[in-house]
C-alpha cells in the first residue's frame, strides 16, 4: 500500500513524541526522509491504514515502500538498515546494548501512559499516577547519574526515546503539582542539554503547545 516509492517516508503527527523519536534519530544520522503529516483525530488516510493495519497509529517508517511500525522497532530498524550512518545509537557491546534496550523499554512502558493517567484521572487515580511518575523520573535521574547523556558521552538510544517526552514534563508538572527541576535536577539539566542540539530543537513541540493539545484531547474525551 506504500507503493514503490523509493527512500524514506515517515507517517507523522506534529505532537507525537513517538514520531519525534524517529525524526531525531533520522536527523542525527543525516538520513533524508519525507514527513507526511497524518490526520489522527478525524479520518485516517488509506496509506496509514494500509501501512499499519494492526494498530492504525503513527509513526510508520516506509522504506522503499515497506512499512516498519512501532517507534522503538523503527529506531532499531534504522540502526540495522543503515549501518554506515553515524552515529550508532546503540553501543557495540552486547551487554551495553541490553542495558540501553532495558532503559528505553522502561521509558516506553511507563512515562507516556502514566502521564496520560495524570491528566485523565482525578482524585485517587491521579494521586497514584503522580506517585508513579515521580518514582519513574527519580529512577531515570539515578540511572543518568553524572553522565552527560544516558548513552554516556554521546546521545544514544535511551536519550532519543526519552527526549520527546520532555516537552510533556511541563503538563505533567501542572497536573501533578511537582517540579522536575526540584525532584530530578540532573534529568532537568539533561533535558536542557538535549534541547540545545539542532536535531532536537527542530523537532520538539514547545511545552505550551503540548499543554494546549492536552486541553484539546480533554475536550475530545469529554473530560473538561
Amino acid at each position: 500500500m506504500g507503493g514503490e516509492k523509493k527512500g524514506l517516508v515517515l507517517l507523522d503527527f506534529w505532537v507525537s513524541p513517538f514520531a519525534q523519536r524517529c525524526r531525531i534519530a533520522l536527523a542525527e544520522k543525516g538520513l533524508v526522509y519525507e514527513s507526511l503529516e497524518q490526520e489522527l483525530l478525524g479520518d485516517k488516510s488509506d496509506l496509514l491504514l494500509g501501512s499499519n493495519p494492526v494498530h492504525k497509529k503513527v509513526p510508520v517508517l516506509l522504506h522503499d515502500g515497506r512499512a516498519v511500525c512501532e517507534s522503538l522497532v523503527i529506531l532499531e530498524y534504522i540502526e540495522d538498515a543503515f549501518p554506515g550512518a553515524a552515529p550508532q545509537l546503540l553501543p557495540a557491546d552486547p551487554y551495553a546494548r541490553a542495558q540501553a534496550r532495558f532503559w528505553a523499554d522502561y521509558v516506553d512502558k511507563r512515562v507516556y501512559s502514566c502521564g496520560t493517567r495524570l491528566w485523565k484521572l482525578k482524585g485517587e487515580g491521579r494521586a497514584a499516577a503522580r506517585a508513579e511518575m515521580l518514582e519513574t523520573l527519580r529512577t531515570l535521574d539515578a540511572e543518568l547519574g553524572d553522565k552527560a547523556f544516558f548513552g554516556g558521552e554521546a546521545l544514544g538510544f535511551v536519550d532519543v526515546t526519552l527526549i520527546p517526552l520532555t516537552s510533556w514534563f511541563y503538563s505533567y508538572e501542572k497536573q501533578g503539582g511537582f517540579s522536575v527541576e526540584e525532584e530530578c535536577p540532573r534529568l532537568a539539566e539533561w533535558a536542557r542539554r538535549c534541547g540545545e542540539r539542532e536535531s532536537v530543537a527542530k523537532v520538539l513541540t514547545a511545552p505550551e503547545e503540548v499543554h494546549d493539545f492536552i486541553g484539546l484531547l480533554k475536550k475530545h474525551y469529554g473530560l473538561e
Binding site: V68, E70, P94, R97, R101, T139
Partner: protein
Amino acid sequence: MAEKGVKVFGMWASPMVIRVEWALRLKGVVYEYVDEDLASKSDALLRRNPVTKKVPVLVHDGKPIVESTIIVEYIDEAWKDGYPIMPADPHDRAQARFWARFADDKCNAAIYPVFTATGKAQREVVREAQRCLKTLETALEGKKFFGGDAIGYLDVVVGWYAYWLPVIEEVSGASIVTDEELPLMKAWFDRFLAVDVVKDTLPPRDKLLALNKARRAQLLSA
C-alpha cells in the same frame, strides 16, 4: 574473584523464563538454573534486579540482564557464532520485533481473562483472544515456523502458547486454538513442540495443570 559462567534466575512454571532457556539451549550454552519462590524472592534475585524485581534474570560473568525479550536478543548477540535466533535481514528483524511486542502487549492481555471467565462472558473473551491470535497467525502464512524453515526469535517469544494455552484451555474449559479458528497456529504448535530444545525443556504437564487449577480456584474465590 570475578564471577564466571551463566546463571538463570527463574520460576519453573513461567513462560517468560522458558524463552531464555530455549535461547540458551539453541546456542548450546551451559547454564545454572536457580528456581525462585516468587512469594519470597531471594536476596540474590533482588540484588540482581532491583528495578523490576522480576524473573527471568540472566547473569553472565556476574552481569545481570533483565526482561525476557531483551535477554533473548542479548543471548543471540553474545553468542553470535551459534544458532542464529534473530533473522539477518533488517526488515525481517523489524517484523519479528513488531510481532513479539504485539503478542506480549495485546495477545497476552486478551488471553489472561479467559483463565477466569465463565459462561457467556467466557465466550466473548475467547473470541477476543482468537481475534488477537488470528492477527498474529498472519505472520505464519506460507512458513513452517515464524522464523521460516527453522525456529527463530518470534517462535522463542510466542512458543509458550503451544504448551501453556492447551493447559489454560483444560483448566478453564475454554477452546481457543482450534483447527477451525486457527489452523496455521494449531499446526505450528505441533511442529514447535517437536523441536528438540523445546521438548527437552518443558515443565511437567501434570504439575503445570495442578498449579493453574489451584491458581484459577484462588482467583475465582477472591
